[in-house]
Amino acid sequence: MTTAHGPLIGVSAPRRKNLELLAGKATYVADIGLEGQAYARVVRSSSAHARLLGVDCSDALRVPGVLDVITAADIDDIRIPIRLPFAESPEANRALQAPLARDVVRYVGEPVAVVVATDPYVAEDAAELVLVDLEEMDPVVDTATAGEPGRPRLHSSLGSNTVNQLAFRYGDIDAAFAEADIVVRRRLRVHRLAAAPMETRGLVADYDRNSGVLTLWGGAKVKHFTRSLLARVLGLEPDKVRVVEVEVGGGFGTRGEPYPEDVLIAWLARRLERPVQWIEDRWEHMVATNHAREQEHDIELAATAEGQMLGFRVRGWCDHGAYIRTQGLLPVVLPMLHMPGPYQWQAFSMDLDAVLTNRTPVGTYRGPGMTEATFVRERMVDILAAELHMDPADLRRRNLIPAESMPFVFNPGPGSSGVMPIAYQSGDFVESFDEMLAAADYHELRAGRQRARSRDGKAGVGMAVYIEFAAVGPFEEVDIICDGRGVTVRAGVGSVGQGVETALAQIAAELLGAELEDVSVEFHDTAEIPQGFGAFASRSTVLVGNAIAAAVNEIRIKSAELLGCGPDGIELHRGNATGPDGRTVPLAELGGVRGRFDKDGLTASFGGAVCSASVDPADGRVRLDRFLVAHDVGRAVNPRLLRGQLAGAASQGIGGALFEELAYDDNGQPLSVTLADYMMPTAAELTPVDLAVIEHGSPSNPLGIKGGGEAGMVGSLGAVVNAVADAIGDGADLLSSSVSPARVWRALNHQSSLDGAGRPAMET
């Protein structure tokens, strides 16, 4: 295909938006100030589990400037539904969250009332005066035992705190274990983490009585779902609700799902008939926005003495917090889907329970489920390698699914429940694995480790490999409008700071023979975009990119009809279609053209991370000397943006392993509610992330693209913990995905990195 510039797909075009962001001119939701705007403050539960005996708003209502205070009694008795109904259960649907707590509060931070005032400081003052009468109940704060009989129940309509039990049986698991020379068993814990974007959540809602239109600014990610939800709960027609995206300060999976506040702020704007703004503060963010990761797994892995991995059994508990939110049971579905990974198992047996505890609800955070499962599996592979005295790389390589077995499927056998087949369409895992080791200079890393050890240093090398499932359907649509000024692409995804608009413009410009700067991509306003599913599961470039390709095919067909030739003979160049006879039709004459890409199933990509680390025995501090991410992206649309995504995700994962943790005490009180407690890594701790971008085109879509936005995260916990365990040596039994200085210090002193029921001892 020829264009003014030659190909644009695969070129590192500069990111759009940067000028505005660097000049400080971008508009985030907190920057919106409408005429007559009022300010909301949410009153939240201070208790993890308590009967809500009453809420007294009278003092708050007397504060000058307060416009309204609402509680559950003021609004309809609704629940926020599940958006992604995978493995949905009746129990899960009985644990949905109401926008404001009714009768019982179930986590610290649960919304109980909302105060609206003419000034945000006044709203905050008045919120302090709302008296919430609570009668304490015993909280449930331990993941592995939450579902056991006799535990306090979070929801009285449920028989227990277990909301679903998934089972996956593949092959003859008893035969695999009978054949084994060695079985390793551990309980592993994945600690609670937060995406923690630098911008907290925020919303502005406005209701126009004349037109009857309710507008919500600040929705991102899944705008069309939010629109339908708001229309339903507010009793409006969907075309009377607009959800508008503004600049977003980081998404990472947590921002933009409809939360209680989306309903409340929209409802208040309609009730008060004036604009209402709510900006989450950081304390609220740490207790109100979805948490992630918290799980425990009892896992046993069977192998031969030569290092053939035969099978594994896993019994796991995945915490969903106090309520099932819009992402439904993904916190249990996704770990199951990703647990087998890239290995050729004879058999496995997985039982994963979705449980509820009195903590902030759990949702998805970049690399959801796959990061947890990869840690669990890859940690066990390293434990097995240590037992067998094998190089962990050799052990992995000999067990990878060979290229000649592709496509490959693990089909659920008898006794399975609530699961779908795990299918890998393509890829050469062994070749990709060797590319990763070569890029990391693995043998030199191992040699450096030996040199450090000969000087009594504590140095280690660790890795993790994985399969990432991404690019979920069902479909996306785009409209392409060509006019005298250029090309407009309207799509239903969202920009969450990842730069997707640049990559999509490149695809459109190349396929249309347009100048890159003449293409604009619009996705901000549901009023202008027919429909869309949103920005998650690394799907935007894959789904919308291919919908653009479909629309361009339609443009070729339409212009061929006008020119009386076949669509293949059409050349598209700078707004014109030219037939083989040289006759030309301007694309502006075609009007808007719609393209749609339907996608069944998920796209699987192979990837991995390699890490070398050293440990300071004096204080348990870990230094990463090298970190490399390898990932098969199918085809890199914009290598520079892709590298930014991979390195950024890896840095988040490194922080998660080394420093970050959302800790709770035994009463369910959160201990990480400021950025001084939830310690994210800075320039002083982070190391440059090296990248090996593998391009084995995907057969699942015409452009051959796979997901790339999350991959850098997936191997991070596993690789870092394996490297630290290798550095400590002496069979260091690191069983938590956190290798904070305190945990490393305990391991150095031969204490468990878990305590008691598997929860970590408090960091002191």
Binding site: L22, A23, A30, Y121, E247, G250, R282, V496, G648
Partner: protein
Amino acid sequence: MAGWLAPDESVAVNLTVNGEARQAHAPPRRTLADALREEGFTSVHLGCEHGVCGACTVLIDGAPVRSCLMLAVQGRGHAIETVESLCDGDDLGALQQAFDDNDALQCGFCTPGFLMLIEGFLRLEPEASRQQIVEAVSSNLCRCTGAVGIVQAALDFQSTRRRSP
């Protein structure tokens, strides 16, 4: 100053922002960050409001300061600079350009704070070593990029400024 103020009674706060005198009015408890935002300087971003993330960093008399930890009334009589002052008309200034060149931003929310932090730090310490620059950059948080590009942007800007101060 005579007598007590009613709660949230505004007082005159004469601020000098980017060289321009502004007659602002704010209650005494208003943070400098909020007052600047109300004056239209929405490049001052609030990421935590407890002095950790540094997204609200501005320069006060040339030194980087977290404006969420200062009251607006404390800004009286001081020269305040925000990221708007770094632009060269409609063009980016050299430090902003270095950020663009080094992929030192993604979502952009932390960016104005980092720009002011580095601008202020290198004005105070023009000959800072790489290690000192890393330490200074580690005052603020970036969740998207991994911060390595930000350090490189600071180093590039330092050499640019050395060549043409």
